[in-house]
């Protein structure tokens, strides 16, 4: 297991963590000030300053990426599938332009939440089939672009609205079917917030293995959790045994960044430099 206590060379900032404090340019500047070596930006933040400008600022600052957020939202009315695939191919291209190591997929829930305007449905099995079909269809473009796809299983409390892929087992079953030869172009993003509760966590991380562990995200689960979306905790403030989970992914050979991704009204209300300083302290002490 790697020693994080001496510095923060392995810390990456998911830029949603400070999305209310400034635009991507301001976030990149703040990371440079704090000596944070990597980020994982969101598409809306990149679009707001323009892809070319984002690429330039990332390069000029010498930042690396730990991922790009996000592709997905596959379930939709059949008439909208070309729109869905165009959108996802653009996400792959943007990730490639930014030199991201993977495109994170938040796969979408029921069609009317995944792509608003689609016909309402309670058929989560059908939504899951659309997700798998979508990932399989996107693989060709991802391969051509050399951009691995990282399925992020989301906590089951998001199954209806955000992602109907909710466990590592389910994610890896999709990987096995869509990429049976383990080409390295399809894997998972392990976010402790979504998977910490899973009784199969250790077994499924071992099953994933190094070639399918494409990203590792940290934050914490607060008790009580006051808001299902925007009350994630800073590492160390909740109940997740972060070092135990990091040990599991590193035992498989995971050598990437520990990406801090915190959606939190509390942390969005703090000055950006204070948030980043806290991330660094906690990265060195409790991650």
């Amino acid at each position: 297991m790697r020693d994080l206590s001496a510095d923060h060379r392995l810390l990456s900032l998911n830029t949603a963590t400070v999305r209310k404090q400034g635009d991507l340019a301001a976030i990149i500047e703040a990371c440079a000030r704090a000596g944070i070596p990597a980020i994982s930006p969101w598409r809306d933040q990149v679009a707001a300053i323009g892809l070319d400008e984002a690429v330039k600022r990332v390069k000029d600052t010498g930042l690396r990426l730990s991922g790009y957020c996000r592709g997905g939202m596959f379930p939709a009315d059949p008439a909208r599938l070309s729109e869905v695939m165009d959108d996802n191919r653009r996400a792959v291209d943007e990730a490639a332009a930014l030199d991201a190591p993977c495109l994170v997929l938040v796969v979408g829930g029921l069609p009317h939440f995944s792509r608003p305007g689609s016909a309402p449905s309670r058929d989560i099995g059908a939504a899951r089939a659309m997700v798998e079909d979508g990932i399989a269809a996107l693989m060709e473009h991802a391969r051509a672009a050399g951009m691995p796809l990282a399925i992020e299983p989301l906590h089951p409390m998001y199954a209806a609205e955000r992602a109907c892929v909710n466990t590592l087992r389910q994610s890896l079953d999709i990987c096995d079917r869509v990429d049976p030869t383990r080409t390295g172009m399809l894997g998972v993003a392990v976010d402790v917030y979504h998977v910490w509760w899973d009784p199969e966590l250790a077994a499924q991380i071992a099953r994933a293995g190094r070639d399918r562990l494409l990203a590792f995200h940290v934050c914490d689960w607060l008790t009580p959790t006051k808001d299902m979306l925007n009350d994630r905790g800073m590492m160390g403030d909740g109940v997740i045994d972060l070092k135990a989970i990091r040990a599991m992914v590193e035992a498989q050979g995971f050598a990437g960044f520990c990406e801090v991704e915190i959606f939190s009204d509390h942390w969005w209300s703090k000055p950006i430099d204070e948030v980043l300083a806290t991330c660094i302290t906690r990265h060195r002490s409790v991650v």
Copy 2:
């Protein structure tokens, strides 16, 4: 699959659904007025009017029980294990006095939430071991009392505070280890709210089989869910495919009640007769 459309002979009311509108005596009277044939009462409601009085009123009204809520909360400091087991044995005895078909187990989360005052812990694996040890220890008393124990897997969003058993697979793994000969004294309570999202739902219900399907609870999952505890939906108001899940349990031969259990600030604010009338309408139309 049973036809529920003609009447509500298979409807049971979990009494927490109207716990703010009156005491257990008032709830029993309201069920009698509405022709609801069964209830599943909570221990605190029984204690409030006294066990003997509860038994008398249930018998005098001719009500049946679909379960008794609840035993569990096993994780605790070692020094408190005898307190935990005494508490659970009393729950078994009360369930027997009320002639319940099973005691529902909400197994508890991390020790300091399960039994407040216990030492704080992030070790969910240790909590799970305490749960299994507790169930195994309780089996002797349950067998002597002829009272089956129904493990209720709770939604993963409750893993820290309420139950660290979060899937049917995990529940049935415990059943297989603790009661390998399938004596009928250990099984599961399937609550759609907790399990609807599970990609393994159909497979695990089939694995459970009739002898381990001890209870079936219905409500609905609202989108958005505004409160993690008290914003469950009335059947039909959310995204759960209720008939599909009922078909799964009935395909295994489940012949018990469909128990309505709704924790909801919204429904707690309505007159009791209006809530019961709505439960009956929805039971006949969407369950």
